[in-house]
């Protein structure tokens, strides 16, 4: 998939580290991360933007890496699941997923966690959602229905949704309390 001798050298900033790699224009950000940089924490599920397993943060905003071309994301700050651990300490969401059984097989988990990191930021920015009655007023309560709607781009085929919702809620409330 990656250009072998062909392609162009690009520079990606991932989890604070700059990497130079050769890619063809058709290489997705997902494949560049997994195959090019060996960062296999980001998962390939549907490869068509439906499942969210490939969710990464770009400049703090969540996107599907499978629908992104690597060349487009040069010079942006990309965060993958490998970048959430700091000094050996799990990110609070990672710890909360373990505490609340927010997974079974674990395949969707990196995407769920990155998505939740982005989602909490969006909520704080006042981003409305489809469950808000009045978009001008903005979201009021960090409720289960808000969490479920805002996380609907991440599928868990094991059905660990109840644990995921609890993990996200606990993390949000924990951060809000600090």
């Amino acid at each position: 998939m990656l250009g072998d001798g062909g392609g162009t050298t690009i520079s990606l900033r991932v989890n604070g580290t700059r990497y130079d790699l050769r890619v063809e224009p058709r290489v997705s950000l997902l494949d560049a991360l997994r195959e090019g940089l060996g960062l296999t924490g980001t998962k390939k599920g549907c490869n068509q933007g439906a499942c969210g397993a490939c969710t990464v943060l770009v400049d703090g905003r969540r996107i599907n890496a499978c629908l992104a071309l690597a060349m487009v994301y040069q010079d942006r700050e990309i965060t993958t699941i490998e970048g959430l651990v700091h000094d050996g300490e799990l990110h609070p969401l990672q710890a909360a997923f373990i505490e609340h059984d927010g997974f079974q097989c674990g395949y969707c988990t990196p995407g769920q966690i990155l998505s939740a990191v982005g989602m909490i930021e969006e909520f704080r920015d006042g981003m409305p959602s489809a469950v808000a009655d009045d978009v001008a007023a903005g979201p009021a309560e960090f409720s289960s229905s808000e969490i479920r709607e805002r996380m609907s781009g991440n599928i868990c085929r094991c059905g660990a949704y109840n644990g995921i919702v609890e993990a996200v809620r606990q993390t949000f409330e924990g951060e809000a309390a600090r």
């Binding site: 162009t8 063809e24 224009p25 058709r26 997705s28 490869n47 068509q48 933007g49 969210g52 969710t55 905003r61 969540r62 996107i63 599907n64 629908l67 992104a68 071309l69 060349m71 487009v72 998505s115 982005g118 989602m119 969006e122 920015d125 006042g126 981003m127 409305p128 959602s129 489809a130 808000a132 009045d134 978009v135 001008a136 903005g138 479920r148 709607e149 805002r150 609907s152 781009g153 991440n154």
Partner: protein, 330 residues
């Protein structure tokens, strides 16, 4: 995926120039639809010109309107203070569409250009006049639950999948486009096409034209507006039927109204006929019902989508009733 060349445009002139002198070149927005279609082999550009670095400014216009740079992402539009206050149905339409990840990447220009989600369009083994002209329409005699009931032709019954565009259609939005031949302004209702005998052409854009911005002229009644989306599951699904409406009532009468439907046609369907009946009439359920009936009179149901006709009428009535309740005391 077929190989292609990639270039990033730093400004509008460079983008237009690159596309005009590169065989088989296409503009690239967020890529959330185009990259998927390229992976499926349905779109096969030889070159992509990345226009995501062009204007994404969202700014107030004199008189109270809003101008949105075509590279603005969908989420930024939905969360913009002016959009939420003055065009709440546009903010709603966007957050009812796709997933948060897609809304963060997808641009406004790309949303206008997205292609149908008809299963037969995606299935290369199926007949599809939109994908491969002359191969017939397998949807007409096939499974057509998600397909169009208004403005169809014997060649195509696909729908336009956008939610955002339905609210734009109800807002009298104007699409600004530019090419080497100059700039022009295209009213949103004239931007997308009905299938006729050329379903392969979705829009009235001319070769090489680039969408640079979408303008929302001031529309005070849009402060009392809403978008309602009917779908098979309550999140992350395309519309079976959707309604965008804005309503102003004075002394029990309908002073002004905007109404558009999604999920029913190959373009966002501005309900001009219903609007004509509503304007100046009493704001009653009977009036809303009569207007809905009139708008759907020409609708044609197929084996699996005839339910959309009744669903569209009921959704129109329900949305207008809700807005009448919201707006009648003002």
């Amino acid at each position: 995926m077929k190989d292609f060349t990639y270039a990033r445009a730093e400004n509008v002139a460079a983008a237009i120039d690159l596309v005009s002198r590169t065989q088989g070149a296409r503009y690239l927005g967020g890529g959330t639809n185009l990259v998927d279609l390229m992976r499926e082999g349905i779109e096969r550009p030889d070159a992509l010109v990345d226009v995501t670095q062009l204007s994404h400014r969202i700014e107030e216009l004199d008189g109270g309107g809003i101008r949105i740079g075509a590279a603005a992402n969908n989420a930024a539009v939905a969360n913009h203070r002016l959009v939420r206050e003055r065009f709440p149905f546009l903010s709603q339409a966007i957050v009812f569409g796709a997933s948060a990840q897609i809304r963060n990447a997808a641009t406004v220009g790309g949303n206008l250009m997205q292609r149908t989600r008809c299963y037969y369009f995606y299935d290369q083994a199926a007949g599809c006049n939109k994908r491969t002209p002359g191969t017939g329409c397998d949807a007409i005699g096939g499974f057509n639950r998600i397909h169009a009931v208004l403005g169809t032709s014997e060649h195509c019954i696909a729908t336009h999948p956008s939610d955002m565009c339905v609210a734009l259609a109800a807002s009298d939005a104007v699409v600004q486009v530019e090419s080497g031949q100059g700039a022009r302004r295209v009213p949103i209702v004239d931007f997308h096409r009905l299938p006729g005998d050329m379903p392969e052409v979705d829009t009235n854009l001319r070769p090489g034209e680039l969408i640079t911005a979408v303008e929302l002229p001031a529309l005070p009644l849009a402060r009392n507006s809403m978008y309602r989306k009917m779908r098979d599951r309550s999140s992350y699904a395309f519309a079976l039927v959707s309604v965008a409406a804005a309503l102003r009532i004075h002394d029990g009468g309908i002073q002004d109204v905007r109404l558009a439907l999604g999920g029913v046609a190959q373009k966002p369907w501005r309900a001009f006929e219903a609007e004509g009946l509503l304007r100046g009439a009493e704001a009653t359920q009977e009036t809303f019902q009569r207007a809905a009936e009139a708008e759907l009179r020409s609708a044609k149901g197929r084996a699996h989508n005839a339910f959309k006709i009744e669903l569209a009428k009921r959704t129109i009535v329900s949305v207008l009733e809700r807005l009448a309740g919201n707006g009648s005391t003002r």
